[in-house]
Structures are given as C-alpha cells and as structure tokens.
Symmetry: C2
Subunit: 204 residues, 2 copies
Amino acid sequence: MAKIDFPEEVKLLIAHLKRLPGVGPKSAERIAVWLIGKDGDFSNDLAKAMMLSAEMIQACEVCGFFESSGIGCRLCADTQRDAAVICVVEQPTDVLPLERTGAFKGGYHCLGGRIAPLDDITPEDLRIASLVERIADGCVSEVILGVGSDVEGEATANYLSDLLAGKFPDLEITRLAQGLPAGGGLDNADELTLYRALDGRRRL
Amino acid sequence: MAKIDFPEEVKLLIAHLKRLPGVGPKSAERIAVWLIGKDGDFSNDLAKAMMLSAEMIQACEVCGFFESSGIGCRLCADTQRDAAVICVVEQPTDVLPLERTGAFKGGYHCLGGRIAPLDDITPEDLRIASLVERIADGCVSEVILGVGSDVEGEATANYLSDLLAGKFPDLEITRLAQGLPAGGGLDNADELTLYRALDGRRRL
C-alpha cells in the first residue's frame, strides 16, 4: 500500500502558508484546503495582490509608513501635519487607529517592530537611526512613544526614552497614558492595569 | 490635513487576506505588514505556490481527495487498498492523520465539509451523491463515518447514517469511537465526553 501524502503542489502551498505570522500548521492546511476548494479565481486574485504589493509598496525611508512607488509617502507629503510632534509606533498598521481618534495632528515614525531579545529583535533591527536623524534635523519638540504596553513595548519605550534624552536634552518625551480601557469595569482590570491607572491618576 | 489611509495596493491585499478562513481583519493587517516587510521573494514564492495549486490541484471526482493534474488521485490509484471499507471524512486534510495511525487500509471519501445550516451548508453542497454512487457500484461492505464529534459532525453523521441505511440495508455503517482522549485525566474531560465514554464503555 503506497504511502498517502498530499500532492507536491499542496505541500509547497502549505509550507509557504505556515510561515505567515499567526498561521500554524493546522491553519495552513485549512487555508490550503479552502483555497483549492474555491475556483482558481480567488487564488489568482490574492496571488496578484501579493505580487503587486511586493512590487509597489515599500517602507518610506523617512517615517517607515507604507509608501507606494511613484506616489510616495502620503504622511511625509502632507504639509499640514504638525512637524514639531512625532508619534513613534511599532508598525505602519498602528497609524490608522491613532488617525481614527482624530486627536493627533503630528507626524508618525514607524519602528518596524519592537525590541524583543527572545525573538532576536535588537535596537539595530528597528528604524531608530532614521528617528534620531529626523529629530536632529531640527524642528521636533515632542516625541510621543506610542508603543504597546506589554513587556516588549515597555522595553522599547525605555530604550528610546534613554537614548533620546541623552542625545536631545531639550526634547520633550512622552508616553501614551496607561490605565482603564474605555468601558471596562474595575473587576475586569488586571492588577498591573489598576496599578498603572492609580499611578497615573489625574486631578479633576 | 489629508485623510491618511493605506495605499490602494495594501488595502487590496488586506481585503483578500481577510477572506481566508480563520484570518480576521487584525490578522490580515499583520500578515500584510509582514509580507511587505519581507523582501519581495517570499510574496512571489507564495503567490506562485497558490497559482500552481489553483491550476494543478482539484478534488478527485470519485473520492474527493486532492488530485494533481496529469498524475491523478493517488488514493483511487492504489489497488492495494481494501475497497470494501470506505472511511467518510470531512476534508482531504483529515486523510493524513488517519493514515498516520496505520490502522486503516480501506478507501476514503472526502465530503468537502459538513452539514452546517448556520453557515448555509446543506447536504446538497457535500460530495454525498458520489458516495452513494460508490456504494451502489458494488463491493463496499462497511462505511465508517469519520466526521468530527461536534454538533455539525453529529448532524452529518446522523444524516448520512439515515440516508445510507435507507438505500443499502445490508451496508454496515459505523462511527469513530468517542470517549476520553489519550493521555487525558477524568478531571480534564467535559461532561459530554465522559457521558460518551461511559456510554461506549467496552468489556475487558
């Protein structure tokens, strides 16, 4: 009895899908089955969308946001933004949620990740040199550290804060407030969140 | 101040990725960022693997397993398999785990899903007609219902069992045993699992 295995094409597809972030071996198989079950149009459309992005999109050299070949970075091109304030975020995808608040009119700087020694991501892997360059160029008065509030986010914020404070003594360095999320009761908040909410309490 | 959004190419990519099973809006963004962050090679390789599968792979008309154009279905081509027993599974990906047990030498029949009215999947959407045809063709003496043990799996098993018993009075219809999973203590088992384990207890 011959050993049964997926056809080579399917194995190749699963091997590639497995490498996507958040996609494990089981999900990769499920996605492969789903893709093959669809008629070929969807696979081809997705394949084309991927190749188009791979060809046309890169990180803006200045701020790290998505930049489309020929069009350039829309963030850097926008002269109405307040160039004196830069919000430092981990990924380009963090920009849109902040934009949706409507509360921020400054520029952004996407690091491309956060310091995570366990994943072998060191400060050298992040877009920190270009951040220093932007600040050294002149008119930046405040840097908001808009990184996450988990361990790696904290480590990244501390690293950047030390680095920037050392290089630019006059620069104001702030961090997004931490505390109770909107709509959350005290009974749902973990200890650390409550601690930080207490620590950062504001006078009314 | 212009409204900031992702470039069109990125929006298109995210829109496509979001449709994959188990990939929500957040995962789609994460995968898109990751894909764009890699150099273009990976995107192109994955795109090629998808197009290759879309072009070369289809479901075998007889058993529903993956069939590679030109090579045909390896399951149906294997003459050493016991044609008298068919194990009915939901997806082609369910075949490999069963094969790995080494305990089954018969044929398979992949339904392509399970009956799930909430997802609009009715018996007509499944490969049931070809199953009936295979059994009607003759030499099948046992059908093992190898579908999952969740609600939809149960519904599918019940539907098939009624249908096949009505059409083929001499056919033996069995279902995979349900009970404690290997290595699980009683304290980890839920009520229904324990109920089924009791119900299906075997004399030693």
